[in-house]
Symmetry: C2
Subunit: 298 residues, 2 copies
């Protein structure tokens, strides 16, 4: 057997993964002291193979907790530790954009690689680094993609949609979603002036009267998607929906999207959010089963 | 020369230490993204010897930042890294009080010991481990004490005060403060039922008409000190003041103390707070100079 460790707030997702992959779910307890420190309690009986489920949106405190949990789990008998982080943090900071900047991807990636034997995530934001293993040097670093599942969802709502990525980096997800059902696709050109200040240029594709779905790996402030949606509306698109893997949606991002004329907003449950429409549990479970059968063979 | 790295919010304390120890202060910049991630920027030119000033109250995010800074500083040329953490977090979680609890002191201590060549702190809350080196396995682990400075402050206000610790663990700080000026001292007996629910028994020392100063290393919720102050007031003490090294003072702790009849509240600047009355800069600077002259000899 394999133990699946999770916190109480992840009960639903943990149960779905545990059922699908035949893992033994076990809850961890957190106590917060008045001074901001946390005290964690794990089950004392662990299987030799342990999976930890923890999505890393708003990651800073969670990364510290991961370290506490991983080291305690080893003490309590875990011989093989897998992190399932449906959303993986700090992958976007993959170079120093000005001198002196800390390349957080490298530091956080090494930190996770040192703590865990295997790391499984969904659509990590890899741009200048081509594989997850280059960013997270765990023995096994597995990147799943939600693009096919988002494509299926879109196919259930539109017969001939145009899939558009808001910037050139999104081509990897857009193309993957489009080919599955033979949808038209393209990407916009983005110029970023600040966290909430971006310029977008639409691709030279006719959008008049078409159902357009904006696709991306992650939506954070929502400003990029909103800018694209406004331009699409002005260009005559009949509907503009949004489908993303990771629903970070900081601050009033959802309002900004609605205000820009976005209709539906769909996301996976990698990050819990009201827009969640796709469960990643089956795909994560499948990946875990493949990992463990492979480990058994070694 | 030695570089002293600090964030903007620590400018005053960094300047005082830099002046006293003849270090070259250099500010680090932090940008917070809408999704909660931080981006850090360091000066690109560092001396081979680098000191990082960072007090670790509300530690979870700060510990992640320490890792980012320490690893980047090494890349930018630091050959010897010293952490000056006037308040050191997670020292109180030094054993599993119930099965499965993570012994955070050990994990966080090892984390800091791996990142830094030397760690300097003030009055770490060591209880079941006797030395800082046992908790923080850095090559040099130096614990300074604020007790003599707090004692001098008390001596400037009271001629024959009674120094009392709120529990048996505080004996190490109370005794040290008392012997410096020949003050009477003792400790209370504490029974803890929860974070904010404690029972206190006063020691068998006459307090009628006396100026009592409650001394401790750290004040968090304030409930323990408040309970002791109420009992002392009821037992006839003429005044009850409070002197602590670390002013965590969570939530409405100061109000709770005032409500319990506490007069003055004094603290060191290990944690910035309105009660700060003692600067630790001279002692920290002295310790840094001793450390570096010792390193030079090696």
């Amino acid at each position: 057997m394999t133990t699946l460790l999770h916190f109480e707030e992840d009960l639903d997702r943990a149960t779905a993964i545990a059922l699908a992959a035949k893992l033994r779910p076990a809850v961890m307890h957190r106590h917060r002291f008045p001074d901001g420190e946390v005290k964690l309690r794990l089950p004392t009986i662990l299987d030799p193979q342990v999976v930890l489920l923890r999505s890393l949106d708003h990651p800073n405190e969670k990364l510290l907790e991961l370290m506490l949990v991983a080291q305690a789990a080893r003490e309590f008998g875990a011989q093989h530790l897998t992190l399932v982080a449906p959303y993986l943090a700090y992958m976007r900071q993959d170079m120093a954009f000005s001198p002196g900047e800390v390349v957080s991807q490298r530091v956080v990636g090494k930190f996770l690689g040192d703590l865990f034997d295997a790391v499984i995530t969904v659509d990590p934001h890899l741009h200048r680094v081509s594989t997850l293993a280059a960013a997270v040097p765990a023995r096994q670093a597995i990147a799943l993609s939600a693009a096919p599942l988002l494509s299926d969802l879109i196919a259930a709502h539109h017969s001939q949609p145009l899939l558009l990525g808001p910037d050139e980096e999104s081509i990897q997800w857009v193309a993957q979603a489009a080919v599955r059902h033979g949808f038209d696709y393209g990407v916009c050109k983005k110029t970023r002036h600040g966290d909430r200040d971006v310029d977008i240029a639409l691709p030279p594709i006719a959008v008049v009267g078409r159902a357009v779905v904006l696709i991306d790996d992650v939506a954070s402030s929502g400003h990029t998607l909103a800018r694209a949606a406004s331009l699409l509306g002005a260009a005559g698109a009949s509907t503009v929906d949004v489908a993303v893997t990771h629903a970070l949606f900081a601050d009033n991002a959802m309002e900004i999207l609605k205000h820009a004329g976005v209709g539906k907003v769909w996301s996976t449950d990698c990050i819990p959010h009201s827009s969640n429409a796709v469960s990643m549990a089956p795909l994560i479970a499948e990946s875990l089963m493949a990992l463990f059968s492979q480990e058994k063979e070694l």
